[in-house]
Structures are given as C-alpha cells and as structure tokens.
Symmetry: C2
Subunit: 379 residues, 2 copies
C-alpha cells in the first residue's frame, strides 16, 4: 500500500478458495469486505434515507462525481460542509472520477492527452475534465475514497486502441496521484485493457507500480460474455498486492458478485438493486420476482420467505403488486429496501462463509436455491 | 350519539371560545381531537410508511373507497385480512363513501333515487354505487369509521337543486344506516345544502334526527369564499350534538383548520400537505416555502427553524432544493414528512391551547408569526 493518508487502511484477514475476508478502515468507519456499495448518484441513494441504509447495514456508499459536478456543483457542496454533511450521511463515501459517465452519458466528447472535453447531458454546455480536475472535484466533495480518471473504452474495441487507451489511463493515473492533497481521501488506481489478457496484465502491473491505496478493475460488464468478465477479473486480481483492496467497478448481478469474490475481489457497486426495484423487479434467494405479474395478485407471502428485511417482514406480494400498479412512491421505497437488503445480506453471508472456510459450499447452495426457485419466482 | 357499535366512542372534554377538546376511541385506538387525518388514497399515504406516520403522531388516517373499490377491489382487500392488514396499519381508518370521487373524477354520471351510475376513470367501464353498496364496500375494507353516501353538488348551484339534492342525501343517509351491520365500523352522517344558510340548517337538523356516531360537513371548500365556508361551518356545528364528533371534509389550509376549530370542528382531512409536498411546497410557521426557489440554493437553514421534524432536524433548504430539482424520490419523502408533521403539530398546539383555555391567544400568535414570516418565506 502506498498512502500518505492516515484516514485509510485495509486489513487482509484470510482467504478461502480465492475469496478474501478483510476490513477497510475509511475515515474511522470500519467496513468489512467483501462489501457492496449502494449507488448514491445525486447525493441520495434513490428512494432511501441514510438511516434506512444504516439500518440495513451499509457503511460505505458511492457518489457520482459527474452528476454532482454538474448539479449542484462541488463548490456548493463544499460550502455546505462537504457531501457527507450535505446529504446527512455520517459514514464513508467513495466517489468515482466522473470518467465513466462522460463516456456513457455525454453526446459529444473529445479525448486528448490533457483530458476529455464533453457536452454535459443536462444543458449541452461544454465541460473539460482532466485528471487534476477529477481529483479537485472529489476533494471538494470531501470524498473518503477517490478514483483516478480513466478512459472507458467500448466493447468490442480494437487491440491497438485498447493499448493506446490503457497507456493514456496510466499517464492520467500518475497525474491524479500527483494532484492529490495530503489531507484528501484515499486514492484508487483503475486498470483497463479491454478484453485482452496481455493488456490487462500490463495495466495491472503498471498501475501497481505507480502505487495506490486500492486497485479497481474498470471497463468490464460492458456487454461481454460473463466468462470473459470473470477471466479478466481473475487475471487482474492475481497481480494486485494482497494487502490492498480490490474493487470491481459497476458489477453487478448477484451471481457476478459471488463469482468475482471467488476471484479475489473485495468491493462492488452497482445500480441494479436500486434501479430494478423502481422497475418492480425484486431479487430473492430463489431468483428474480417481477412484482407486477398477475399471479401475485392475491399472494399473501412476502417477496422472499427467507428474507428479514422491513418489506418482507410487513408486506405481501399482493400489496406490493397493488402499490406498484398504482404508481405509488412507496412501491419504489419498499422494493429498494428489499433489494439493497438482499445485496447486503449476500455479501454478509459470503463473509461468514469465508470466515468459516466454507465459501465453495456457500457458492453451491447459492446456485442450488436459485435452481429450485425458478419455478416459484420469475426465473 | 346513536351507536350499536362497541368499538367507537367520543368524549367531549372542554370548550374554549368555540374550540373543542375531545377524545375519539376508535376500535381501541385513542385519538385526541381536534385531529388531522392524512389521506391514504390507494392504501398508502403517498410517500410514507405506516411507521413514519406513527412517529409523527398520527393514529387515524383516511382511505378512499372509490379508489380502493376500483383497484385492487374490496373483495381482494377482504381476502387479504382487511385494509389495516393489507397496508400494514394497526391504528384507525376512516373511509369516505366514494361519493366525492364519483362526482369529481368520473367523466359521466347519472344520479337516480337508487344511486349513482358512473364510468370509472381507470378503464371507462360502468359502475353503480348505491348507499347500500357504499356501506358494503366500507365494511369489506374493515373501516373503523364509515361515511354515508352523499351527493356533492358543484359551486355555485341553484337553490332548488341544492334542496332537492340535500333531500336525496338524507334518504341515502337513512338507507346507509339501515344497511350497516352491527359488527361494522361507526357511521357518520354528512350534511349538505350548498351555500344556503336555511338549507344547511335543515340538513343538519334532519341528519341529526336520523342519528349517527358523528356528523360531517360536506360540500365545502369547493371554490367559495373563505368567509362563506366558515359561516356554513358555524351554522352546521351549532346544530350538532355536543357529545358527537364533527368532521369538516376535505379542509384544508392551515388557517382553515384554525378557523374551523374555532367554529366547533373536531376532525379534518386534506390532500394538501401530501400533494403540496410532492410539488415542492412546504408549510412552515412563517408561511409557505417553495423549495425550488433559487434563493434557497445555498441556504443552510432547515425549512422551518421552529420545526422538530426529521427533515428539519437533518437537512438544509439547499439540499432539499437540490434533490427536488433532481427529481429524487427522497424529495417527495422529506417534504411529505415535514408537511404532515406541520399539520399534526398544528392540531397538537391547538389542543394544548384549548386545554389551557388560550385558544384565542394561540390564534393571534398563529397569524402574527405568518405575517412576520412573509418576507422570509414565500408568503
């Protein structure tokens, strides 16, 4: 680990068949790993209060630099006492660099050595994001864990382009490291390399050589086959130092988390649990459940009979279907509570399994229950 | 009082300059009056969980028979154990008769002696609502306090029409009383009579003569001048028995509640606090505050510095403005919590004032604070 920052630490505890158990210390907040981070795009995890997130058990959430930079702006948030204070969240926050959204949301963008010029998706005005600017914004937000600015390439991409791009990402990573303040948050590097094994290896080695507080795997879950994503993940984590946290960005489905943990990943974030919730899809131990389905009309059971969340303890599928069909805000709320509980419970059970050296057994049970459940839920 | 129903009672405690203090006992739930009932149209008070309503202090909410009859239907709710169980609310529920929505939402309707035929606003199919049907639906929902079916006439209406209509409403009221089961909820009569003093008097006298567990004033707040509404209210309550609760339906603004309490009203319901919340308007002790206003952009103060609600304790106007502008669900939630707290706090302060025989003083302070506050809030 390479950190000037006293507020950040990672303790590796043990490994079991590739899966790791650890603890992040982020600004005094203890975060057991593997961890799933809910996405709080615009200074709120959609439909949730901070208290509800804490009640489920979350202590680390993600904020999106791109969105917050555009609205309300990092200067305003800084004046309001930083992102934690602004959004009433007293635990830890990881921020991305804004790069991913520039590449996925902006209608026009031009990449140069200096940075990336783009038109923002709100009003079309021109913006320019550089590695230095990405760090400046994240520090003004008061981020606990910052991410370097990287270029996210589409899938598929030519190897020559993927190589040129990973080299640019490496130079940007060095500039980010130079730009950070001593008083700021921790800083994670991001590895790229498309779906090319040798490029992933090069990116991992050279990123580690620069030295960061943690290492992320970027540019996956962009449309490639699952096996390819898992392979690229394994190739990368093998080269990361054991005593630094590894973060697979933007991933993913419950099975992706189980598979990636088995390949040495410690940290995850994804919009799926919150976004699917608002669209009426619930994750359960027996697979997905689409709540608007008419067969739930008179179903007195909770969404997941094995679940201990507020929603499952108090509401029937029939009620959840009714309020979803009626377009009620409470539907988004109750579904989000359930899905986030499901994700947090998944990593909690993974940690328990690794602690007790039965990760493979856990994994077998995880898949078995879903196979049995397919007839019951929506497959 | 005329009640076969053991589950309902009202205790009149004292009066102070027209304002009354009392206690409703609804199915074992004690409800101090004057009381404000949040509106839970479709088996949910929009954006709120039952726990949040209880935390604010509510123990009686309103459900809309018309909406619940159309979706998901009273049969389904009965099968699910009744409305309380269906929506996870273990305190008291008052249901309206469905009449008001038939007259306000249905594109076509035909009133006969038997009842009212209408096309429902969801799929346009024909429905027929009679006094007996209105009671049957409310009993299937498991309502604690049911309302008789009444005709709601527009404003202005010809006197001859208002008279004919109030006579029909009286006959329907008698049929509702005959139709109720002994095991069902309490039943309130509704007085009508448009804006005609003599008709209001006749309606009140004849409704009281039939005999109900409580008496409601219907057909007000339909576009008439405030003074006219207050006059019609006073005329009606004067004729109601002292030992029965009085309910002014669908009213209203904070000042309407203060004025109507001073004219002997005990119960209120209104969509304003919840609806305004979703539109970004907050009620405060100093008047209304439109949160999207740009002057709140960097305002670190809570919406109402005198308020003890969850929102005011934890969030700034700047944050509330940001999440409102961003279309976040949390904006509707936090604004709704604040507005409902404001309404509940208003009737709580009114009860305290009546208890201590200083209702007039309370009323003076209420208006003074708003006058001072106009420069600060949005007037």
């Amino acid at each position: 680990m390479d950190s000037n920052n006293k507020k950040f630490g990672f303790k590796f505890i043990k490994e079991d068949n590739g899966a790791r158990l650890g603890t992040l210390n982020v600004g005094g907040v203890e975060v057991p790993t593997p961890v799933f981070m809910p996405v709080g795009t615009k200074a709120t995890v959609k439909a949730m209060t901070p208290e509800e997130l804490k009640e489920i058990g979350f202590s680390l959430i993600l904020g999106n630099t791109y969105h917050l930079h555009l609205r309300p702006g990092e200067e305003l948030i800084r004046e309001m006492g930083g992102l934690h204070n602004f959004m009433h969240w007293d635990r830890a926050i990881l921020t991305d660099s804004g790069g991913f959204q520039v590449f996925s949301l902006s209608p026009l963008r031009k990449i140069t050595e200096e940075g990336v010029e783009f038109r923002n998706h709100l009003d079309g005005s021109k913006c320019f994001l550089t590695p230095e600017k990405a760090i400046e914004i994240q520090e003004k937000l008061g981020s606990d864990i910052m991410m370097v600015l990287d270029e996210c390439i589409p899938y598929p991409s030519e190897k020559s382009y993927a190589e040129k791009s990973l080299e640019l990402t490496l130079r940007w990573a060095e500039r980010c490291k130079l730009a950070r303040s001593e008083s700021g948050g921790a800083l994670f590097g991001i590895t790229q390399g498309g779906m090319y094994k040798d490029l992933r290896i090069r990116s991992a080695r050279e990123t580690v050589a620069i030295g960061f507080d943690g290492y992320a795997i970027g540019g996956l879950s962009v449309g490639e086959e699952k096996e390819l994503m898992y392979d690229m993940t394994a190739i990368s984590t093998e080269l990361f130092p054991k005593d630094a946290p590894r973060y697979l960005m933007g991933v993913g489905m419950p099975e992706d988390i189980v598979e990636a943990v088995g390949r040495g990943v410690d940290m995850f974030d994804c919009v799926l649990p919150t976004r699917c919730a608002r669209n009426g899809t619930l994750f359960t131990s027996r697979g997905k459940l689409v709540i608007k389905n008419s067969r739930f009309e008179k179903d007195k059971r909770p969404p997941d009979e094995d679940c201990g969340c507020y929603t499952c303890r108090n509401y029937s599928r029939a009620y959840l279907r009714h309020i979803y069909q009626s377009g009620e805000i409470l539907a988004s709320r109750l579904n989000t509570i359930h899905n986030l509980y499901y994700y947090n419970n998944l990593v909690t059970k993974i940690r328990d399994a690794v602690r007790e050296s039965r990760f493979l057994e856990f994994k077998k049970d995880f898949y078995n229950l879903r196979d049995i459940g397919n007839a019951d839920a929506d497959g």
